[in-house]
Amino acid sequence: MSISISPSANKSALKSHAWLGLAVSVLMYWVCFSGTLSVFSQELLRWEQPHIADNLDYTPGSIQNAYERFLTMKEGQTQGNIVIRLPTHDLPRARISADGEYWNISPTGELSEPSTTPITDLIVDLHTALHLPEDIGMMAVSVLGAILSALIISGIVAHRRIFKDAFRLRTGNNEQLTQGDLHNRMSVWGLPFHLMIALTGVYFGLASFLTSIYADTLYEGNKLDLFADIYGSSIQLEHQPAIANIEKALTDIMKMEPNTQPIFVTLENATKDNQYILLGSQHLDKLIYSEQYRFDASGQYIDKVGYSDGDAGQQAIFSVYRIHFGHFGPEAMKIFFGLMGFALTIISVTGINLWLAKRAKQDALNQLWLGFVWGTPIAFIWAALLELTLALPTKPVFWVTLTAILIASLMQKVLMKTHLVLLNCLAALLVVLAITHFAVHYPSSLVMNSLIIDSAFIVFALCVWRYLYSRLKKGWNI
């Protein structure tokens, strides 16, 4: 028995695939590219502030000290919750935040300096919300997740030779053939990963709409009951001490759950009469973000929310974040996730390249697409450079640079020339970024994390030059 898809179904699927791909082309590219970089957000955070020493030796006492100092600094009042991010192997530094203010904590419990990471924020915010207001941006990105699943479905139906070409990658002078093969092979063999990224991506911005319908259907419209079932019900406490005993809660959790990794402490209803401690601790054999343990403000254990041994569904919902960003397992997993995210970026670029090549003409769309593809990383790097040297805000610089590149691309009629110039710019800027970061932060930049990232920029620059050289060898003379 053989399964086959009719030629007409193939044709219409291809039409659908092309239409959807074009409709989201630039946005999908931005989300995939910035998502690939976001996998390394914790390493980038450390790269941005290399002078803050990486340290895992924080004691519960030093965290308590930092909290009390922070509370004094805020004159005992905060509007929202106080959140303490505890040191972990992938981000070995602690941070305390409330009301949009972030401070690094030294291992002795002092508030060392405000935590500002504009370069990482530039990348991560493009991925999560396209630099739009958070609510709208997250919804837009989640819609892209759904469109990605439509692209996957239409791509499978459209791929008539899915088995016949399973291992075919033809390289050489025929650029279109190579790009087509790359697009198809990377898509097919990475299918489970791409699908997982699409399905989990929809969750972040659009789950609330779905849960509203579930609340109407299963909970008679009472959303709080639904949230209680999924996220655990809130607890009501009164007459809590003004200064919470986080030290005791941290000490107790290490005894109660020695095989877990505490990752955050949230002081719910902070500075109010009913404040309590929510302590998140990661179960290293599970994909859930964390189990949440609740303590009253004097540090007495109350209960745990129960994600780690709750319903399979509850665990599945709480696994979305770590599955989507590859933040599980050894550090190498991030590199693998980065590679797979990069493959998805290549798929999104080659898809549009193929469509453009089939038009038998070149026009402003070709110019713009080239500007977007190579201009985005250039604008990222340029924004990072100006932040490092002149402390200019990254987001406005990014958009101004990208706009300038697009205008310049539109003005240059010889596409090959634009392509080569952009490649040269990108490679040169990667080298300049590595050197600038090293020089600006010297001698703090001599730490392993910074050295690896700066070296990676140099390696990427060499890859871009290698790519450029291969194009020149193919006769891309200007």
Binding site: S12, A13, K15, S16, L20, A23, V143, A146, I147, L148, S149, A150, L151, I153, F163, A166, F167, L169, R170, T171, G172, N173, N174, R185, W189, G190, P192, F193, A198, L199, V202, L206, L210, Y214, D216, T217, L218, Y219, D229, I230, D285, K286, L287, A312, G313, Q314, I317, V320, G329, M340, A343, A357, R359, K361, Q362, D363, A364, L415, G475, W476
Partner: protein, 185 residues
Amino acid sequence: MLLSIAAFLGSALAIGLFYRAWQSTQIAFKRIAKLSALLLMLASLSLWVTEYGPELGTCYAVVAFSLQAWSWIYLARQRISKDIKRVDLPFASGLTTPSTAIAFNALVKLLGSVFLSAICAMLVTVVWTTALSMSKVNQIALGIYTMPLLWGCGAYWLCADSKLWRPVGVLSVLSALSYFYLYSI
């Protein structure tokens, strides 16, 4: 650690067998090789799961398999050295403006893919998941993970069908029926 190495080698061998099956012209060999590769893949998955548990094990298996397949494809790439002269396509100034009918059609497709498919997928997902006999939380989780697929199917159909009214009509009716089913009982 030994189990991880065995699982890694198992999936690499599975891809190798798939490759040999793909290359071969002998039908009998193809079948045996494909079947063996599938069995090896399952064995590899079970080794990953034994070592790291079902959640992490499955993730490792998927990631390892994809990366190994891409590496294999790269190593087995076919270099075509035929000298194909690069043809520069003619450059047309400006952009061709689409007709009003085409622009309207595109707008309907876009709105349908984003909004109509989303509404339909969400309502239908709640209908079918709540019909299953499982706990409420499991129904919701199942819905969260499967709704994007339904949405994707809807968007795909909207852009694939030559008669746009067909998917628009069916998705609208499905949405309406699901809505009345959910909110009238």
